[in-house]
């Protein structure tokens, strides 16, 4: 026993506990993120829950819990309850409902239950009653209407794309043009006040407005096409709800889908999430703008950071005389790498936006004031701030990479008669991996 303790193995074992505990924490967190994040889009079955008091609810089961309640005399009662996503926000006003398990009579999964994802009002769960076009009934009942619905949805989504395209592309362009002309007039009025030029610009605005009317007409036509067919849904409590088919983003019947069908639906939902724009005040749709913004920001940042960071590190390590000054610079760089990002954020607001941005505005974009052009938050300022934040990190990492180039390589190169510069280039190519590591840790910081 005593010998066992003296051998030191128990202590080694205890350090092992610390390592394993960290690893378990990491594994647990990864699992948690994956489970919570990836499960969200899986289409679960639509349950029809009948309560003992006769009321019926239709929706996806989203949760189950054991709740602790206090009874009338303060005693504790445990209640099992189920959370149902009942959707139909326009009919019920609430998306979710908790149901006590004790009150449930039975639960069934009706084959024809349809889930509709809509452009407004969130999801709808119910049964198809009929689809009609301009007052004429096209089809009635679940069985007949499903193929019609499935074939018409792509048509409407392409019309929707067209409408969005016109609104954003053509009309957006015209608006931009008008705004530019208006600013030019304003600048002219503030400056030389040349009446002839102003009236010419005004005529151009008239032209643009005529173009706008044309596009507007096109849009009206598309919108009337968009609302042509109307689907009537019956909710579980027997209320009918009419809505234009164009309002439906996606329709599916999870209860009659097989595993493969669900998987492909899941894939399409995930793809929508990463590639589409958000709908309904960011509660539905995708996060494409956020992804795009992040990537663009990091790209701009890298363009700024890489040359500065790598060259500075190169100079510090290879050319500068290693004296007190360089030591101070190095301590400062290390220090800067440790400054919290929020301090950089405040600096960005104060210096870039209010300082540089406002100055640029007052010099170049006077006619647009008080509307800021550069004097507001934007991707350029964000990227530059991130660049400031990551330069020290890149310098430190690159320097470490350079320090790891062995003395033999350096001396050999010098002995061959190369100048210091060539020597650096040699080791540069050999240690390329280290640079990319430096850049990579910079990116990591930037992403955070």
């Amino acid at each position: 026993m005593n010998k066992y303790w003296k051998s030191g193995d128990p202590f080694v074992w205890l350090t092992g506990v610390a390592l394993m505990f960290s690893l378990l924490m990491i594994a647990g967190l990864m699992y948690l993120i994956a489970a919570k994040g990836l499960g969200f889009f899986w289409p679960s079955d639509i349950a029809e829950v009948k309560l003992k008091d006769g009321s019926v609810f239709l929706g996806e089961v989203t949760g189950h819990e054991k709740a602790k309640l206090h009874g009338p005399e303060g005693e504790e009662i445990f209640v099992e309850r189920t959370q149902l996503k009942i959707g139909n926000r326009d009919l019920y006003g609430l998306d979710f409902k908790w149901i006590d398990d004790d009150n449930i009579e039975n639960t069934t999964y009706p084959k024809y239950a349809v889930a509709l994802e809509r452009r407004e009002w969130g999801n709808m769960y119910g049964f198809i009653k009929q689809i009609s076009e301009g007052g004429n009934v096209v089809c009635t009942g679940n069985e007949d209407c499903w193929p019609v619905l499935e074939s018409q949805l792509p048509v409407y989504s392409s019309i929707y794309e067209e409408i969005k395209g016109i609104e954003k592309g053509e009309i957006g362009g015209i608006n931009r043009e008008i705004e530019n002309l208006r600013l030019k007039i304003r600048g002219e009025e503030m400056g030389s006040n040349n009446q002839e030029k102003i009236s010419r610009l005004e005529a151009q605005i008239k032209e643009e407005e005529a173009k706008y009317q044309e596009q507007e007409k096109k849009l009206t036509a598309l919108y009337s096409e968009f609302g042509k067919e109307v689907i009537t849904m019956t909710s579980i409590d027997g209320r009918d709800k009419e809505m234009p088919l164009g309002n439906v983003v996606r329709a599916y019947r999870p209860n009659s889908l097989g595993w493969f069908g669900k998987a492909s639906l899941y894939a399409s939902k995930v793809w929508e999430f990463v590639s589409a724009e958000p709908r309904e005040a960011n509660t539905e749709g995708g996060v494409f703008p956020a992804i795009f913004g992040t990537i663009l920001m990091v790209l701009i940042m890298s363009v700024v950071v890489l040359p500065f960071g790598v060259l500075a590190a190169l100079y510090l390590r290879e050319y500068a005389k290693q004296g007190t000054l360089v030591r101070i610079v190095r301590i400062c760089v290390n220090n800067l790498a440790g400054v919290p990002s929020i301090v950089f954020g405040v600096f960005a607001v104060g210096f870039f936006i209010y300082g540089m941005g406002s100055t640029l505005d007052s010099i170049f974009f006077k006619e647009a004031l008080p509307n800021p052009t550069f004097g507001t938050g934007g991707i350029l300022w964000a990227s530059l701030t991130l660049a400031l934040l990551t330069v020290p990190v890149v310098i430190v990492a690159t320097e470490e990479g350079l320090a790891a180039v062995s003395k033999e390589i350096r001396d050999g190169s010098l002995a061959r008669g190369d100048e210091v510069r060539n020597d650096v280039e040699d080791s540069h190519s050999k240690r390329y991996a280290r640079y990319s590591h430096g850049a990579h840790s910079g990116h990591r910081e930037g992403d955070g």
């Binding site: 003296k6 092992g16 924490m25 301590i331 220090n335 929020i342 301090v343 955070g448």
Partner: protein
Amino acid sequence: MHPALRNTIKPVVEIMAALPSVVLGFFAGLWLAPIIEKIIPAVIILPVVLTLFTLASVFGWQYVPRGIKGRFKEGSELFFLIPVILLGVLVSLGLNAAAEGALFGGDYKTWFYDVLGMQYDQRNSLIVGFAMGFAVIPIIFTISEDALSSVPKHLTAGSLALGANRWQTAIRVVLPTASPGIFSAVMIGLGRAIGETMIVLMATGNTPIMDWSIFNGFRALSANIAVEIPEAPHGGTLYRVLVLAALLFFFFTFIINTAAEIVRQRLRKKYGQL
């Protein structure tokens, strides 16, 4: 530890280091906080239970016959500890209700309030501590690991050859030699914890009232700036106060970092000649 094993464990921890702190804060605030609220007694007894379990495993290990011990790749016997730890966690969870009854008289929130005069907030310093651990452990781990593995092999070999055992070598030879690296790892971790904004922002209540209890919410300097600056008008009093707070914060980290750097250079000089 066996090199192959190390080469798999280290990247895993590095993945963790790359996880943005916003994600950690999000999980701590929205997922972890309500769960911890339910199992506070279990969380309190967890360290005790875990210590008992690991000590038991230490005692148990010496009775494992040599034949079985020898079969493991160096270091891989540690995977035995995973079930031990999991079991410890499960046991404390199972003891949750019992511990609440025995230690806190059935309802820990009332007990806290009656006996200690503390209130329990759902988002509190304890939660932030957990989340911060996730953020800081990988950083300290990777940098210290680098430092430890760059200790020259001839030192450890010499120590072992002179008759020191594994533990003595690690404590007396490897640790001092790697101490500059480990020290800077700890300081960088500390720096990240101080500067951490998103975790604190999401997992504390951001209450500006100060309290010594770890079960209360609080507001950190960084989160304070992050919460207020979008609302502050340019040039106004709030804006200037926030800039002052940022300056204060900057000085704070500047002093800590400089002190750390100086200590590190001293240590390096002391152990650098080895």
